[in-house]
């Protein structure tokens, strides 16, 4: 199984591709609402992409209160 760091790194790469921003502009503790200027629905779109990549299914409520990539990665890691 992949490590938490690998999961986090892959999420950052996928998020950068999804929102069309350079990978180096995203950090693990960035508030993605602020850094990317997106709303909660746009982050749900990203979640779908992450689910396909990691082959997991996350209910919407798993994203409640999550606003940084590190926490998001821990939620996904817990289901791998």
């Amino acid at each position: 199984m992949q490590t938490a760091d690998q999961t986090l790194d892959e999420i950052l790469t996928l998020a950068a591709a999804h929102f069309k921003v350079p990978r180096e502009t995203l950090g693990p503790d960035d508030d993605f609402f602020k850094t990317l200027g997106v709303d909660s629905l746009q982050t749900l779109d990203l979640l779908t992409r992450l689910e396909h990549h990691f082959h997991v299914e996350l209910p919407d409520y798993e994203l409640e209160g999550v606003s940084d990539f590190r926490t998001l990665a821990s939620r996904i890691q817990a289901r791998l």
């Binding site: 629905l41 749900l44 779109d45 209910p59 919407d60």
Partner: protein, 569 residues
């Protein structure tokens, strides 16, 4: 549709509707692309009555209060009907509040029954305030078999055989207590009567009727006044069907339109804008020739529908767009927050009418609605039947506070006679919103008299409710205030909460303090966050009991600095 004038309570109207439309489908529930439940009105009754009987056997009776904390799903409606059947009072709580906030409102409402979804119950039981929960009966939905529910019962097992006793209520009896705000210390529990709901439903259905075969997609939280009315009471008394989706993922929402051939849906601006973005991106992908044809068809549709919608004609002119919405969509309903006129116009020009309106929890659901005769994106529509509006103390342009009188206006705020007296004056509800009525009777909203914002997701955020997150900030004092309240702008866009900081003598606003502010701000859900900051050079005006005089502070700031001085956070 039932003739609601003949009824004295929601329970009786729902009971008759369930019998009259027994064979019709009333609920469909899907999780992503998997359909979980499909119920006829007869099936619905079979689920609700054993629950009502079990509640009665457990001592729940007329006037008893039952709270619900649950995302949109069929069990929400089944439970609500069981509560009304017993003559109970429904207390629908926002499932997006924190567990601590939910516990606070549960205590305030004095609910004796709590019906809660499993993941939310887990959060409540892990809250430090859980020990103060006094609710007598807790029913937990979708709990795994064998899970320790800490005194709660599995909803699915809480049923009894035998017909429950139907408890009739009168029109003036309380039907529900809906919290419009107040998690920061002064809960505003709107006490709504059966008459409020029956009259609201009559008014709405007079303009936008439902009938058997109509499918309403329920996306807004059912605890919200709009979905409670157009996603439960309205469709049920007309024999229509409600479709619940257990996810808000845009792709599944789009899919649900087609799969279930949706007729109506109520949306907040954030979702409507998301749909707009998706459509615009699709249009941009079209080749030059197809795009040319599309633009011409949109232009033609615009011309032919300028006086009123002609949905069938629009479907012929723009079949691809309408197919993407299932082909049967009659209107998108929007309310609860400021909606950009350009977004509404975008959909209207595609032949998809946007029915925007204006309302408050204190006024039931809606006070005004666009009647589409013709469509006006620049207003929030006309008063619904039975609603009187007045503009108090209008200025030279006719702008003043909107006041409303209607049978849909709440009875009072729970346990707060003082606030009730300030809010309902001689039968008129003072909305705290600024607006004017134009020559054709349309209401235009142009700002707010009250210190609050409404987010694009339809959430009312009051500074008092979030201020405590900044406790311990190393400054002399601080306050949160709504930008449009400090600097009235005669518009309702650009909603922003501003953190006002009074620094210690010789203190500078440095990067360390910014970090502290940001860290605290991030503890709030994204939609509640403060978006700007100003450093204020004077001590805050305070009452004898040391409470900040917010009105005075806002006025002092307004008279001293411009809105442009606010620095983004």
């Amino acid at each position: 549709m039932l003739d609601l004038r003949e009824y004295t309570c929601l329970g009786a109207a729902l009971r008759d509707a369930i019998d009259r439309f027994a064979a019709q489908t009333c609920l469909i529930e899907a999780d992503r692309d998997r359909e979980k439940t499909q119920l006829s009105y007869s099936d619905f009754k079979e689920l609700a009555l054993p629950l009502a009987r079990a509640l009665e056997d457990a001592g729940f009776d007329a006037g008893g209060r039952a709270a619900m904390v649950m995302s949109n799903q069929s069990k929400w409606l089944v439970s609500a009907y069981a509560i009304f059947y017993c003559g109970g009072v429904l207390v629908p709580l926002d499932f997006k509040l924190t567990a601590a906030e939910q516990l606070q409102l549960l205590a305030h409402s004095q609910a004796t029954v709590l019906i809660v979804e499993y993941y939310l119950w887990r959060a409540i039981t892990q809250s430090p305030d859980f020990q103060n929960l006094t609710t007598r009966i807790v029913l937990v939905t979708e709990a795994p078999l064998g899970a320790d529910l800490l005194g709660g019962f599995r909803w699915e097992d809480f049923k009894r055989k035998g017909a429950p006793d139907f408890v009739m209520r009168q029109r003036e009896d309380v039907a529900s207590i809906v919290y419009s705000s107040g998690t920061g210390g002064r809960p505003k529990g709107c006490v709504l009567t059966h008459e409020n709901y029956l009259e609201q439903c009559r008014a709405l259905m007079a303009w936008y009727p439902f009938w058997p075969g109509v499918r309403y997609l329920s996306i807004l939280p059912t605890n919200h006044a709009i979905d409670f009315m157009v996603g439960f009471i309205g469709p049920f008394v007309c024999g229509a069907c409600v479709v619940h989706l257990r996810t808000l993922r845009p792709e599944f929402v789009r899919d649900a339109f087609m799969r279930y051939r949706i007729t109506y849906v109520a949306l907040v601006p954030m979702i409507l804008k998301n749909l707009e973005r998706g459509l615009r991106a699709k249009f941009d992908e079209l080749g030059a020739a197809k795009r040319f044809v599309l633009d011409r068809m949109i232009g033609l549709n615009k011309l032919l529908t300028r006086r009123r919608p002609k949905v069938k004609l629009s479907r012929l002119l723009l079949p691809g767009v309408h197919r993407a919405f299932g082909g049967d969509l009659l209107a998108l309903i929007t309310g609860g927050a400021f909606m950009e006129p350009s977004t509404m116009q975008f959909f209207y020009d595609l032949g998809i009418p946007v029915v925007n309106g204006y309302g408050l929890t204190e006024a039931g659901t809606a006070l005004t609605l666009n009647d589409l005769k013709p469509f006006r994106a620049d207003t929030v529509g006309k008063p619904l039947p039975g609603v009187e509006l007045r503009i108090l103390n209008p200025d030279a342009e006719g702008v003043g506070e909107v006041a409303a009188r209607s049978q849909t206006v709440m009875s009072h705020y729970l346990d707060d006679p003082e606030l009730t007296m300030e809010t309902i004056v001689e039968g008129w509800l003072l909305t705290g919103d600024l607006g004017r009525l134009d020559g054709s009777g349309h209401l235009q909203l142009l700002g707010r008299k009250k210190n609050m914002i409404v987010t694009e997701g339809g959430k009312n955020i009051y500074p008092e409710d979030i201020e405590s997150v900044f406790d311990g900030l190393p400054v002399k004092e601080y306050s949160v205030i709504a930008a449009n309240y400090v600097w009235p702008a005669k518009e309702l866009g650009r909603e922003l909460l501003v953190l006002v900081l009074r620094l210690e003598q010789n203190q500078q606003f440095d990067s360390k303090l910014l970090e502290e502010v940001n860290a605290r701000n991030r503890r709030l859900p994204d939609f509640k966050r403060v978006g700007g900051r100003v450093v204020w050079g004077k001590d805050f005006p305070r009452t004898a009991s040391m409470k900040i005089k917010r009105n005075d502070l806002a006025e002092e700031i307004r008279n001293t600095i411009e809105r442009s001085a606010v620095v983004k956070l």
